[in-house]
């Protein structure tokens, strides 16, 4: 495929950004949830 570096690069940037955002959100949730009771987790 011609220009494969740019094309694959755009997919890597897209999926990588989503993955990094998701992992950082879940890590932040894990850290904060330790001091919060289940009663305050209204979605449970």
């Amino acid at each position: 495929m011609k220009d494969a570096g740019f094309i694959f690069g755009s997919y890597i940037v897209t999926l990588g950004a989503i993955l990094i955002f998701a992992v950082s959100t879940l890590r932040s949730a894990q850290k904060s949830s330790q001091s919060v009771t289940d009663e305050d987790k209204t979605w449970l």
């Binding site: 495929m1 094309i7 755009s10 989503i18 932040s28 001091s35 449970l44």
Partner: protein, 250 residues
């Protein structure tokens, strides 16, 4: 099993797990179809493959910013000033900024292949960059010192002003002479000149990115609630400690 999942994913529910799994499947299809199955474009050649991630990310960024404005307006209008609206607005803006960043980076890679330049001060690119910087500013306003109510009020006003830029970005290719191509799918004539598989892949991208957006916003706003509660507990503990210190000194 559910306790293990609850510990590792404290903001997860059955619904988010279903949405997440569906999003992964749809995104996998978009990658395979976008990179391997769809044909080259007559004009753009192979670079059209970038469109299957660039266009949906731009649309979802717009959608995220519109949701931010609607949730902000709801917070301002509602008598109870439910903080759920504020957290939803903040979560949606954060995810929107991420999708806008993806739009700018993938657009610049596409520009390098099509125009020979990563960046041009073209009306669409310039207004998009301005929109991106505006929402970075919105996120900065959310981090200013103050109570959660102050945060909600300040950021709601900024969000309602910032959303006015979206029509300017979208119609910039019509208002001014632009290098950027006009709308292919959302054009006023309604005549979409695209190969069926290309159109289906683009549509799949929109569905996949929408599912990713929903998943991220649900987790992000729940995380924000956890952070707010943890911060309040920290503040309460500090007040109790300070009072105890004051009593001991008397």
């Amino acid at each position: 099993m559910s306790q293990v999942l609850q510990h590792s994913l404290p903001t997860g529910t059955r619904a988010t797990r279903v949405i997440g799994a569906t999003a992964i499947l749809v995104m996998a299809w978009v990658v395979v179809s976008g990179l391997l199955l769809t044909p080259q474009d007559v004009v753009q050649g192979e670079s059209v493959r970038i469109m299957y991630v660039h266009v949906p990310s731009a649309w979802i960024a717009y959608l995220a910013f519109i949701f931010t404005a609607v949730a902000s307006a709801s917070w301002l209008i509602s008598k109870k000033h439910s903080m759920g609206f504020d957290r939803f607005a903040g979560a949606s803006a954060e995810v929107g900024v991420m999708f806008m960043a993806i739009t700018l980076v993938t657009g610049s890679l596409w520009g390098r292949l099509t125009w020979g330049e990563f960046w041009q001060w073209d009306p669409r690119l310039t207004t998009t960059a301005f929109l991106f910087v505006t929402y970075i500013g919105y996120l900065a306003v959310r981090r200013l010192e103050g109570s959660v109510e102050q945060r909600a009020r300040r950021s709601a006003v900024v969000a309602m002003l910032a959303v006015l830029e979206i029509p300017l970005v979208h119609f910039s290719v019509v208002i001014w002479r632009s290098l950027h191509q006009g709308a292919t799918v959302l054009n006023p004539s309604g005549d979409v000149k695209m190969d069926d598989l290309m159109l289906f892949t683009l549509f799949s991208g929109v569905v996949g990115f929408t599912l990713v957006f929903i998943w991220l916003v649900l987790h992000r706003q729940r995380t924000m609630l956890l952070v707010d509660i943890a911060n309040n507990q920290g503040l309460d503990s500090a007040i109790v400690a300070r009072r105890a210190e004051g009593s001991a000194n008397k």
